[in-house]
Each structure stands twice: as structure tokens, then as C-alpha cells.
Symmetry: C2
Subunit: 252 residues, 2 copies
């Protein structure tokens, strides 16, 4: 389901291991790409520590600012997994052991292996809805507009793919990308002119540096595809008028 | 220079290309690692779009909350590079063409190549201090406690290494990591016991999944090295008592 409206999302990455530099987040680019395909734009992401009050404050603030909030991390079986309780408190409620989640986990583990730590993963906020985890079973949940997901990329990304059909997107922002083999400062006037001439089209320039092959990728983004194509033709003509070689596609 | 105090930092990643999913940030883990080595802890990171008011609000809020703020992105030569003006406004001032920056850039470019777009990179806020860029010359700047850096990882990271000696760190948080070849839920009681028995030591457990080699890395972190070593001995003894095989080091 889509509409013409702008639909926004925020992503809260919960985890000391990201803030300490131990682990590099790989979920933001995945989530932003998938949401973008159905017309939901990620307008902010925050990386915060495993600190209850910080989680509560961040969830409350962002859930009031955007249409959809997603969190990753902190819903596992150990003492440092505090996300479920913190998100419950952000909504003025508490967690309970959800019978449906218990049944899922009991069926998943071999007899005798559903221990107390694993049972903790069945605790979700009251009034929340379970979110399917096709990789390791332990569910996430949705409460209000907040979707609470695992942190491990393989699990998080599978959960996103499961829940996407249930979201309502807006206008899909499409992009067109070309690359030139010169620095961005040499084409700055052309890009500014294109941005000014095409309302609603965002013109980004991203220099890249590789041995023997530096250049600039020019990314045009907008929800109005006809305007987007006009902008692409415009920037192409302006660069060709200067005999600048143009490659199609994105180079990073 | 270091002290025993906790010294905190926040990182603001400015760029539509990160929020759209086009580009995956690689600077947070680098910055967090380098700052950690000198006793500065990154306590929050935010990814925000190239929107002036959002940059102003985020810089003002975070610069009041932490000891050091770092930004990446948006200081290049094109129309979408708005960070310098926005940060100036966050401090109630404006940008001007800094003669020292002009001189650096004039010396860097061949005769006739220091065009208007490149000249834009000499604009920094009044009352700011230039930050050296050993890769591509165009300087960053510091104003108040905010350090404004390039977004391209190679440039950003070289700028960080240049400015690090000028920062005042606090207590260095060290870490010790061991890995077990079983899931984290099977050792949850031991880890909770270790966290409770060793004040000031943060015990994190990070499951990893690889074909034929899943397991859990246990990361102990704390500024008190003696307590850290006691916690390491404690968790090791508890796992050995259960005949659990222990690997040294981190597995991801």
C-alpha cells in the first residue's frame, strides 16, 4: 500500500559494541534501502548505549517525530539485553511472558534446552504484537509505531523482510546516478544550476578516490519521476556541453 | 594528556547518502576506536540529513551534552555542502573566507585551478580554528567543542589522527575478550554473576553465526584494569568449572 505522502522512519541502533568501535553497523544501509523501495524515508538514525533511560528517552522522542521507528539490538537472552523492558517503559507499560512467544520457542528448541535465559526472549511489552524471526525464532515485537528487532544482521534483515508487507509507504523516492572522472569542484556550477532548475529534485555529489580512478558520482533523487528524468537530461547536457565524459551508474 | 575522569564524545554523521542506504558509514567505528585509546568514550552517534536546521539543532544539543563533538560530511565545494554555515549558525556566528585556508588551498592547487567552488572550502566560522587535512588539504575546523571533519573515510580518518594529540582524554576503558563455541543463552547465568560481582565492569555477550562455527564472544570492559583482570579470571573459572572450551580473542 502506498500513498503520495512523505512517510518517514527513524532507526535506533542499540549497543555498546557499536559505540565502542568493536562492531561496524551494517543494518542502517539495509533498512534504508528496503524502506526506500516502498516509499518510506529514513530521516534520522541514532546509535545509543545499552542504558535504560537513554533507550526510553530516544524511543519516546523519535516515535513522536516520525511515522515508523525501528530498533536493533538488545533483545537476546542475557543480562545486557534490556531493550524490551526499556521500550515497554517508554510506552508506560511493562513486559510479560507472552504465551505465543513461549510456544514458538518451545517448539524451536530440543526437549530440555528451553532454559531460563531463552525463556527471557518470550518477554515482550503488554499490548505489543510479535514480529516473526525466520532465522532463530525468538520474536521481535511492535508497540505503537516502534518495531523492535534483533541486532545480528542476518536475523535483523530477515525480520525486516518479514514485516515490510505490513507497512504503509508513501511516495517512492527514485534515484538516477551518473559518474564523471573529475573532481566535484570542477562541476559544482552545473550541479547547483540543476538543483535550482528542478524543484523537488535533490542533487548530491559524492567524490570517490581510488588509485588511478578518482571521480564524482552525481546522484539525483526525487519522487516525481518525470522531473527526475528532466533533471538527468539537464545535467547530462550541461556536462556534455563541456566535453566531460559521463559514465552511467554509481562508483564508490 | 589524560585524567581519571570520564570524558565523553558524540559523533554527528551528516549526509543524505548514508540515510538513503547508498553509502555505509565506516567512520564511527574508526573514530570510536581511536578516541577509546586515549580515554574518550563515544556515548552517542547520530546520522542526519543535509538539512540546515537539523544540523543546527543537533550540534547545539549534543555540544551541550558531551565533552567533544565530531561531525563528518558536508564540507566540500558543492551546493549540497552546507555543514560549515550550519555549524556557524549553531554558534550564533557566520562563515568568512579564512586567509590561512585560502593560502593552504592556493598552494595546493596548480596555477589557475583554484576556482570559485574550491574557494568555498576556505569558508569557516568566525572564531574557529583550522583542522589539518593531510590528504586533500581543504581544512576542517574546530569551534567550541565541535570538530568538523570531511566525510570521505580516507580524509576523515587522517584528520582524526592529526587532531588526536590536541584532545584531553580521561580514564581509558580497556577490554578483555574470550570466545566460547556455544550460544549465549547457555552461559547467561555466569555472565550475569560476573557483571554483578565486579562493579564498574561491563559484561557484553555477542553471538556470532558462521557456517559450522557459531558461538559467543564475551567482552569485559572497564577502566579499572585490576578489577578487569579479576573479572576475566572469574568468568574463565566459572566456564571452566562447566567444562566449556574457551578461546582467547574476539570472533565476529
Amino acid at each position: 500500500m502506498t500513498s503520495d505522502q512523505r512517510v518517514t522512519a527513524a532507526f535506533i541502533i542499540i549497543g555498546n559494541e557499536i559505540l565502542s568501535g568493536r562492531t561496524q553497523d551494517a543494518n542502517l544501509s539495509f533498512l534504508a534501502g528496503r524502506l526506500g523501495e516502498i516509499g518510506i524515508q529514513v530521516v534520522e538514525a541514532r546509535v545509543i548505549p545499552d542504558v535504560e533511560q537513554t533507550i526510553i528517552d530516544t524511543v519516546q522522542r523519535l516515535s513522536a517525530q516520525v511515522d515508523y521507528v525501528f530498533t536493533s539490538g538488545g533483545i537476546g537472552p542475557t543480562h545486557d539485553d534490556i531493550t524490551a523492558d526499556a521500550v515497554a517503559k517508554a510506552f508506560g507499560t511493562e513486559t510479560f511472558e507472552d504465551p505465543e512467544a513461549v510456544a514458538l520457542l518451545e517448539a524451536h528448541y530440543a526437549a530440555g534446552e528451553f532454559n531460563a535465559a531463552r525463556r527471557k526472549m518470550a518477554r515482550v511489552p503488554r499490548s505489543s504484537t510479535l514480529l516473526a524471526n525466520p532465522v532463530s525464532t525468538a520474536p521481535g515485537f511492535r508497540i505503537g509505531n516502534v518495531h523492535v528487532l534483533a541486532g545480528v544482521p542476518k536475523i535483523m534483515q530477515a525480520m525486516v523482510d518479514m514485516l515490510l508487507p505490513g507497512l504503509t509507504g508513501g511516495a517512492v523516492v527514485e534515484s538516477r546516478t551518473i559518474t564523471v572522472l573529475i573532481g566535484e569542484s570542477l562541476i559544482a556550477p552545473e550541479m547547483a544550476a540543476v538543483e535550482n532548475a528542478h524543484p523537488g529534485i535533490d542533487v548530491g555529489s559524492y567524490p570517490y578516490f581510488k588509485p588511478g580512478a578518482s571521480g564524482t558520482s552525481i546522484v539525483l533523487r526525487g519522487a516525481d519521476v518525470e522531473e527526475l528524468e528532466r533533471a538527468l537530461a539537464d545535467v547530462t547536457a550541461r556536462l556534455e556541453a563541456r566535453d566531460i565524459e559521463i559514465w552511467t551508474g554509481d562508483h564508490k
